[in-house]
Amino acid sequence: MGKKLVSDFLVTENIALNKTNFLIRLASDIKLPSISPGQFVNIDINKSNEIFLRRPFSVFEVDYTNNLLSIIVKILGRGSKKLTEIQPGEKLSLIYPLGKHFTIPDKKDKILAVGGGSGLAPMLFLARESGLPPENVDIVIGARSVADLVDVDSYRKYGNIQFTTEDGSTGTKGFVTDHHLLKNEMGKYDKVYACGPDAMMKAVSSMAKKAGVFCEVSLENLMACGFGVCLCCIEPTVKGNLCVCTEGPVFNINDLKWQI
């Protein structure tokens, strides 16, 4: 009992990071339990006729002193759009903390975190919580164009942040997999993490696998409940169909049945 909670949070900030990404900061009345990178919350966006189910979002930052939790929402469809229109002062019901977190790196690990699209939040959370010296942490963020990137300067103290853009408007031109850290230096990492579009995660996984490097990805399967009762979010694994919401969202790529 009490391992998972349903409770109302107060929206304290809603900051547009760019045209499609918003940072939403939420305050809890009650003391926040411990939450680790990769875990998520399931949010009731009860603002329209069309949205019935909750929507899952990875936790981005947690401030245990002030009981604040933040998420980064990328507009994808109806629910995420509505959510980004929320105003400070409004309330949101969250179910949390959900899912399994990334394997926390060992003391001397060198890690690579690759994020794209809505997968940015957990990668930055991981970099921050890893407890590693920044020189041990490489972060590659991929986007279509410089306009799709968000300002992550405050995270430079946790690691070396690099960019790729498809149109070359900043950083390396191409996909994250075109970045030299992935193309040429994959072998030097102890652990590789990826979160973002399926195609990106598969490409990163494939490179990590070839290099024989430990690699975890965070899946974003469609969810109805988020806490393991509906069996809608399953992913085929070597252990059979597993629920992404309880056995994931973080999976070691060796457990997945991806054709990589």
């Binding site: 009762v229 809608c232 399953i234 309880t246």
Partner: protein, 303 residues
């Protein structure tokens, strides 16, 4: 505190609010939120004789005030349940009911016989209404002979309370209800999901791997309520109402229509605490109208 207790045949419930099969896992997942002993009862995830992987992803599509699912009875089989899950949950202080499934009558009997041996399982729910499996399931539940055949054989194999879960995808649900009552069912529960479909206009593909799936949630409540009302008039055994129950008023409507108890399903995905709110709400309702027992509202629709 008013008396919220109701009886489904030999099954004594501390209150009429239970959780629907397939929406509350094997009770542990809900127990992560609160002590499930507060609930009237829990219908466990549908169980078959052997492991089933269920259908391919995607299995879910949101719809206006509802959702489609095409899980397809993913479960590890009755033996796994008995060995690994049952020992962990059997001492929860609320009736745990196994939802029995099969592709053939023999398979239903196989599961039933094994459950019959479990001390702490006071009842089974015979699911002859799952729309998401290729064999068995709903095929049995949409004709009287089919429903009768399974019920008759399972009745022989089962000594405790036998609840038969009915499909709403029929012309006359009260006919099916009477048919299973005739074969010894101790109670009927309804409704299971409606067969529905969703298409992505842009990709021009079905949203579910199985094309069609089962519709649940508040969208179906008006139809479910009508069916419960019809069945409650048609049979003498207790009726358990299911379908889109989201709050106290919904639950009371089903009781007024003649249900002796209700199951909350899809609402749990929105908020697993809803059943507790409903239990509290029913008590407040009874106190407001100065009634001593919830039995006073069962079938209490004023015409």
């Amino acid at each position: 505190m008013a008396d919220l207790g109701v009886k489904i045949h030999e099954l004594q419930l501390k209150n009429p609010v239970m959780l629907a099969s397939g929406t509350c896992g094997f009770a542990e997942e809900i127990n992560d939120f609160y002590d499930v002993s507060q609930l009237g009862g829990i219908f466990l995830k549908g169980t078959t004789p052997r492991n089933r992987d269920g259908n391919l992803y995607p299995r879910m599509a949101e719809t206006p005030s509802g959702m489609l699912n095409a899980v397809g009875l993913q479960n590890k089989g009755i033996d796994f349940f008995i060995e690994n899950i049952y020992p962990r949950i059997k001492d929860y202080n609320t009736p745990l009911i196994v939802n029995v499934n099969g592709s053939t009558v023999e398979e239903y009997i196989e599961v039933t016989e094994k459950v019959n041996e479990l001390d702490k399982i006071p009842a089974i729910e015979l699911n002859i209404s799952c729309p998401n499996v290729k064999e068995g399931g709903m095929a049995f539940g949409v004709t009287c002979p089919g429903a009768e055949a399974v019920t008759r054989e399972v009745r022989k194999a089962y000594k405790k309370t036998l609840i038969v879960k009915l499909s709403p995808n029929v012309t006359d649900v009260s006919e099916i209800a009477r048919a299973v009552e005739g074969q010894g069912a101790d109670s009927v529960s309804l409704v299971n999901t409606f067969v529905g479909m969703a298409i992505d206009a842009e990709t021009r593909r079905p949203l579910l791997s199985t094309v069609t799936g089962g519709l649940s949630g508040p969208a179906i409540k008006p139809i479910a309520l009508r069916m419960v009302w019809q069945v409650a008039k048609a049979v003498k055994i207790p009726v358990i109402g299911i379908g889109g129950i989201m709050n106290t008023a919904d639950a009371i409507e089903f009781l007024l229509a003649g249900a002796s108890a209700v199951q909350v399903g899809t609402a749990l995905f929105k908020d697993p605490l809803i059943p507790l709110q409903i239990i509290k709400g029913i008590n407040e309702y009874l106190e407001k109208y100065k009634m001593e027992s919830v039995k006073q509202i069962i079938g209490g629709l004023q015409m």
